[in-house]
């Protein structure tokens, strides 16, 4: 059964769209199942039932759930996520700058982690079972087993509290030059990069080692192909699929890491916003933040799968 390339990619995108629908429904359902709503947070424990009912009516919370879901979805499709239940600000406006900050943090971490892990993974596969390979392996294992908040806390203790070298809190507003950026972002970015790096190194090494043991690699060696060409032309295209998948998965786990890092460094990102929104039962805000995380995750995994499909002629026929 042959499948054409566009058809395969179309299928993958359709699967992503289906997941998105599922995610949208789940996000809405879960945020509504949560006990209590914004009225509890706004009015406190001494509120009379009358005031609660009046406020609920004013916020539209007394309407049937399906009606609320529909109007929320309709607005969301138009890029309108409603208004914060707490301060009445537009959710989209609140998220915008925060999302930008988070992407800056995650992007900077990815920019360091991806090339570094590809380099470490590929080189340790090439020099498999050597001293170098063992060192990389022990270090990545060590880093992967320590939670990011421990690393972040230790870093803050050492570099900020003891050595007074770096700030413990990231002040985004004060960043105007590259020097200032490095000064402010060094610790959170490095911590985040370290955590996502370990997994990528291990997966890249496994994929590359697997490819390097194939008989076409030995054949290429026997044709007199040099090491650089051997890796770039013969090994890498075949290892690309699994590597991209590993990278995409790690980048999406980076999103989870962002939540912790933002809290430790009191960084004004979307994760911090979401944590605040959850504690104040600001449902529209929680919904929008959850959606942003889920969509980013979906985009990354879909992208990885499409690269896998494209990277091999074999994959095109599967």
């Amino acid at each position: 059964m042959k499948n054409s390339l566009p058809k395969l990619i179309g299928k993958r995108c359709l699967a992503a769209a289906t997941s998105l629908v599922f995610v949208v429904v789940t996000v809405f359902a879960v945020t509504n199942i949560l006990p209590g709503d914004a009225t509890d947070a706004l009015l406190g424990q001494n509120a009379t039932p009358q005031t609660v009912a009046a406020l609920r009516h004013g916020m539209g919370l007394d309407q049937p759930i399906f009606f609320r879901f529909w109007s929320w979805l309709w607005a969301a499709v138009h890029g309108e996520f409603g208004h914060s239940l707490l301060n009445g600000l537009s959710v989209a406006d609140a998220i915008g700058p925060r999302l930008h900050n988070s992407l800056l943090l995650a992007g900077a971490a990815a920019l360091i982690a991806v090339p570094a892990s590809l380099f470490l993974g590929i080189t340790s596969a090439i020099w498999k079972d050597t001293f170098y390979d063992r060192i990389v392996s022990i270090m990545t294992l060590g880093v992967v087993s320590v939670p990011e908040f421990v690393i972040a806390t230790i870093a803050v203790y050492v570099f900020s509290v003891r050595l007074h070298l770096l700030p413990a809190i990231v002040d985004v507003g004060s960043v105007h030059s590259l020097g200032q950026f490095l000064y402010a972002f060094f610790m959170p970015v490095t911590t985040l990069a370290l955590v996502s790096l370990a997994q990528m190194v291990r997966m890249t090494r496994a994929a590359m080692a697997d490819t390097l043991s194939a008989s076409y690699i030995e054949m290429a060696l026997l044709k007199g192909i040099g090491p650089v060409r051997l890796i770039l032309v013969h090994a890498l295209p075949n290892a690309l699929g699994p590597i991209v998948n590993a990278v995409a998965l790690s980048l999406s786990s980076l999103l989870g890491g962002v939540v912790v890092i933002e809290v430790v460094f009191t960084y004004p990102g979307i994760a911090g916003l979401m944590v605040d929104a959850v504690s104040s039962r600001d449902v529209p805000m929680v919904q929008a933040c959850a959606l942003v995380f889920c969509v980013t995750y979906l985009i990354l995994t879909t992208f990885a799968d499409i690269v896998t499909i494209l990277s091999l002629p074999r994959g095109r026929k599967a």
Partner: protein
């Protein structure tokens, strides 16, 4: 004049994991004169591939050259720097690997891979290289030489890839080519084409070669000199005719004896009392079409039967549907139409719907014993489990039964405590057999059980089968691609082509009388231990592996003869118009053919 290849006192040692270094190659010396072909003959573990790779200065991981010298075309391999070694590889010495299917990079199309060695060594500009590659494709009788380079390895057949790999080896015009079992993975009818193509190109270019193989008949076709290896040491060296016809070393004699074709005289098994009967069976994959048949028909209206205590051989090439047939009989693959009767009772298509008795009486022995035996359990425990499962013993009796089973397959009871990894390939296959016998079967289905074994070991397993047939009255279905193996033990044969049993008859009669054209092609393609065989066979024009252009197998209507496209004897107006009838040759087989001129002498073998 010094020899082109000169290997002196070569020692190669290797270690597995952190173990001690063990010798792989010991004190091996040989030389090859310019333009000659030397065969390295040996079974698995004889060190033949290790020696062949050392000619290219490539030593596999964990191994090293411990002593001796290797000189190839003026280069002293053992003293080359890695850089010098790279510049020599592919340019002066090139390599043709055993399995072209995995030796081509699946991510790249053919042409860049074929010309790569020549372009990294800067032998010619790219445009000239492609022209040279196309010339080579033509010389190696590849179809569509102009465009085949644009295709990907997964789109080509094994025989085509093997020839493309030869083109890849020859593109740099090397002085020496090392062939490592280049035809072992091929079907016989494909092998003959590839061998002929290799031989013609090598002779034309005066290339010096080393040919690694375990197949003595292939050695007879292609080599001038031969070296017999066992456990990394040379047992005998000399000209091919000396080694094949006057072997002095006992090991060479044993190898030859195992390769000698032997035909088993038909036993007096009467037809009619069929124990297992396959009637008009259709097996396929995919959704059913309008006609109620599956989208891809793998086994196509096949019928045959096995009498009690009989030994039926099913022969066919890769992709002919023999494994699918075996899966259907054993109840692992439901079929679309037709019936399978066991003892006169119709069998269910799904093994879980068969009665315990039926399951017990029909046992399957798989090709790869490693995939059947639990690697973490001693073989005695594995057998015990089967004995208990079929419930014919308990307590002390189970152990006794296990010993009895090991004895039946001629293994010492002391082996019961061993793990599968501590046994040899032949011993594992015997345990695999014992596992089937533990059920107390009446019919044993053997799917290519000797294909992965060395010649001598395989011959011993086949002897075991005939012993069991005689002593226990077992019936066997022996599925194979090896005609000699089949003839040495079977009394009846079904020849499978494109899922159809094109011929069913006596195995002994395969050597003479009237047969289906495919049977004759198959017979004629098995190499004989005779250096003129290849030329003679080619002259007889039997080995037409390439379909004739006017006859596309894909567009042939399904009801017509499945062999039409390759048949050298087809009659236009008859074979391409009417479906073939089932003919009963007097005192001969049942064939699915018009046998248009059955009086013509060339229809007999």
């Amino acid at each position: 004049m010094t020899a082109t290849i000169q290997v002196e006192n070569l020692d190669i040692v290797g270690r597995r994991g952190k173990g001690v270094e063990l010798p792989i190659v010991q004190n091996v010396s040989f030389s090859v004169q310019r333009g000659d072909m030397l065969a390295l003959i040996g079974e698995s573990g004889s060190g033949k591939t290790t020696i062949a790779l050392s000619l290219l200065g490539h030593i596999r991981k964990g191994c090293r050259i411990a002593g001796g010298s290797v000189r190839v075309a003026g280069y002293d391999i053992t003293t080359l720097t890695p850089h010098e070694c790279r510049s020599m590889r592919g340019r002066v010495v090139s390599y043709v690997a055993q399995n072209a299917g995995s030796a081509f990079n699946p991510a790249l199309s053919i042409m860049p891979q074929v010309v790569e060695a020549a372009s990294v060594h800067r032998i010619l500009p790219k445009r000239d290289l492609e022209a040279r590659a196309i010339d080579l494709f033509r010389a190696l009788a590849l179809p569509d030489p102009e465009t085949i380079g644009k295709r990907y390895p997964s789109e080509l057949s094994g025989g085509q890839l093997q020839r493309l790999m030869a083109a890849m080896a020859l593109i740099t015009d090397p002085e020496v080519v090392v062939f490592d079992e280049p035809t072992t993975a091929l079907d016989v009818t494909t092998q003959i084409e590839v061998l002929a193509a290799f031989k013609a190109v090598l002779a034309e270019r005066g290339i010096t070669g080393v040919y690694v193989t375990h197949d003595l008949a292939v050695v007879a076709q292609i080599a001038d000199h031969a070296v017999v290896l066992k456990d990394g040491a040379i047992r005998e060296a000399g000209t091919v005719s000396d080694i094949l016809f006057q072997p002095e070393d006992p090991y060479s004699q044993a190898l030859l004896a195992a390769a000698e074709p032997s035909v088993r005289p038909t036993q007096g098994v009467e037809e009619g009392e069929a124990l297992l009967e396959v009637r008009d069976l259709v097996v396929g994959y995919g959704r059913p079409t309008a006609m109620g048949l599956p989208e891809n028909v793998i086994v196509n209206h096949t019928s045959f039967s096995v009498p009690k205590g009989g030994m039926l051989g099913i022969i066919g090439e890769s992709g002919c549907g023999k494994s699918t047939l075996a899966r259907a009989i054993s109840g692992l693959q439901p079929w679309a139409s037709g019936d399978i009767f066991f003892n006169g009772v119709s069998l269910a298509g799904d093994v879980t719907l068969r009665t315990p008795e039926q399951r017990r009486h029909l046992q399957f022995v798989a090709q790869n014993a490693d995939s059947v035996l639990n690697p973490t359990k001693p073989i005695g425990k594995t057998l015990e489990r089967v004995v208990r499962f079929y419930g014919n013993a308990r307590g002390e009796a189970v152990t006794r039964r296990v010993y009895e089973l090991l004895d039946m397959v001629q293994l010492s009871p002391a082996l019961a405590t061993r793990l599968p990894s501590e046994l040899s390939g032949g011993q594992k296959q015997r345990v695999n057999f014992a596992r089937a016998l533990a059920a107390g079967p009446k019919v044993v289905l053997c799917d290519e059980i000797t294909a992965a074994l060395d010649t001598v070991v395989a011959a011993a397993i086949r002897t075991l089968m005939t012993d069991l047939q005689r002593d226990l009255g077992l019936a066997f279905i022996f599925i194979t691609h090896d005609l000699h193996a089949l003839q040495s033990i079977c009394d009846r044969v079904a020849v499978l082509y494109a899922g159809q049993a094109v011929e069913v008859g006596s195995a002994e009669a395969l050597g003479a009388g009237i047969h289906h054209p495919y049977t004759r092609l198959l017979r004629a393609s098995v190499p004989l231990m005779d250096s003129s065989w290849l030329e003679r066979t080619r002259e007889r024009g039997l080995a037409k592996a390439l379909p004739v252009a006017t006859c596309d197998p894909a567009s042939t209507p399904p009801e017509l003869c499945c062999f039409l496209a390759r048949c050298p004897d087809r009659v236009s107006g008859l074979c391409d118009k009417e479906p073939p009838p089932t003919l009963f040759v007097p005192q001969g087989p049942r064939v699915l053919c018009h046998l248009p001129t059955s009086t013509r002498p060339e229809f007999s073998t």
